[in-house]
Symmetry: C2
Subunit: 275 residues, 2 copies
């Protein structure tokens, strides 16, 4: 299946330290080699880089590292294909315009028997379950609200729509409109918030070390969300099955705590089995 990485902060931050560990899982420390993508919000705009080559060796990923883009909201994804060919249109994250905003979505899991979207206003371009689910979400949201509702209404609507898809399979996702970031855990999703006092961290995947004191100022808040923890000496919070978290400016501003993880009916655990 795949792994997810998200970042939500209150000050423009570069994600290179996390991304460099994460992309090693795309062929070196793990087998998520069927393409990668990363989307950086910049205001209401998005810079998105995708490649159908493995993230660890992609020249596009090298380009991302080189330009050191700072952003308040970033979503990245490394793919291990379950449904859909390995090509650009099937590479996460997916983007759609909702209420005049870019919405960026990445999924880990496997969904079956999704609604037919072939005549809807918002149709999938590729052949993944993930993009179809995202189109379903976009269509439902636009049909419920003609104009952008409040954050709380959005958070509630996302929970409702996710519940409609809950029996379709494993559905871990990260979603952002450039202001906030919503994480939903079906099987595996972890997060942590870095804030003062800042310290050092060591990457799990290659022992790379950073001292955040060299890169931060008092008041900075940076939340990282990942399928599995990226560092070995920080405390990651494991989300529960069915949990939702809404982050804004690095803070957790709303939460629905799930229940201890249950095996979905089909017996798969999404990326859990591959890790």
């Amino acid at each position: 299946m795949c792994q997810l990485l998200g970042m939500n902060c209150n000050t423009p931050t570069d994600i290179v330290f996390s991304f460099e560990g994460f992309r090693r899982r795309a062929g070196l420390t793990d087998s998520h080699s069927d393409g990668f993508g990363i989307a950086f919000f910049e205001g209401k705009g998005v810079r998105i880089f995708r490649d159908n080559r493995p993230g660890h060796s992609s020249p596009i990923a090298d380009c991302v590292k080189q330009y050191n883009i700072k952003s308040l909201n970033v979503i990245a994804h490394i793919r291990k294909a379950t449904q859909g060919e390995v090509n650009i249109e099937n590479t996460h994250p997916f983007i759609r315009e909702i209420w005049g905003e870019n919405w960026v979505f990445a999924h880990n899991g496997n969904l079956t028997d999704l609604p037919d979207m072939s005549e809807s206003f918002c149709q999938p371009i590729g052949s993944t379950d993930s993009e179809t689910a995202f189109c379903y979400m976009a269509e439902q949201l636009k049909n419920r609200f003609r104009k952008k509702p409040t954050e709380q209404e959005i958070f509630t609507a996302i929970q409702d729509i996710t519940a409609e898809l809950a029996d379709k399979g494993t559905f871990n996702f990260i979603l952002s409109n450039g202001e906030w970031m919503i994480a939903h855990c079906s099987t595996n999703l972890h997060y942590l918030t870095r804030q003062a006092p800042f310290g050092k961290a060591r990457r799990i995947d290659d022992d790379g070390v950073i001292d955040f004191r060299d890169h931060t100022k008092e008041g900075d808040k940076v939340t990282i969300i990942a399928t599995f923890p990226l560092t070995k000496d920080e405390v990651w919070t494991k989300m529960e099955h069915g949990g939702f978290v809404l982050f804004k400016e690095g803070d957790k501003i709303a939460e629905v705590i799930g229940t201890p993880k249950q095996l979905p009916d089909d017996g798969t655990l999404g990326c859990a089995q591959a890790a």
Copy 2:
């Protein structure tokens, strides 16, 4: 305003020769320095690179040059802002999903009094007239046809919708769904098709020379569309005011010939005055 560049071919082709001349107009040989963007179709997917820095000096544009991406359909744009801030969300080309395809659109000109799209299904994200016009087009197309109609029906519908916007100002555009490319001329748009026997070409902007015999094979067809010609020793066809051309696999497969150029009511000529 801006300048447009499009490429439509029957074999995956790299656009570096044309793009290298074109991007010099973004600050060196001309003043279109308010950002640039370039979108490469790859199957139904799109690789898109945008920067709010000038195309001639953007590291993202260097990255595009370096990776030598080959594609059947490419649309690029260098911006001289008229409406909307200089930022990523206002940077062409714009993308929307229509009938399960990526549609890519770039505009040169200036439109006023466009329809209010603030409660429509397809809303603009940035503040340009160009994106609003493209959203209007997308909304109209989706409302007319629930599923993708024939190419001829699309070509006719695009002409109808463009006619509805004709009195709003200058509206040169290039549009592609990855299969075909449509060019519409309001004031300035030129094209040429390269095919056997291939020869040499010299760029207008920096005298760079290429011998296409070193890069092509018998049967290749590559159509280049640009606001103004990019080479000095090839014959470019100047489109007329109100003209439409539909290209597919490098061939012109349908055309509406316009009338000799007329000044729009507001007296502006789009990029013509800046060239």
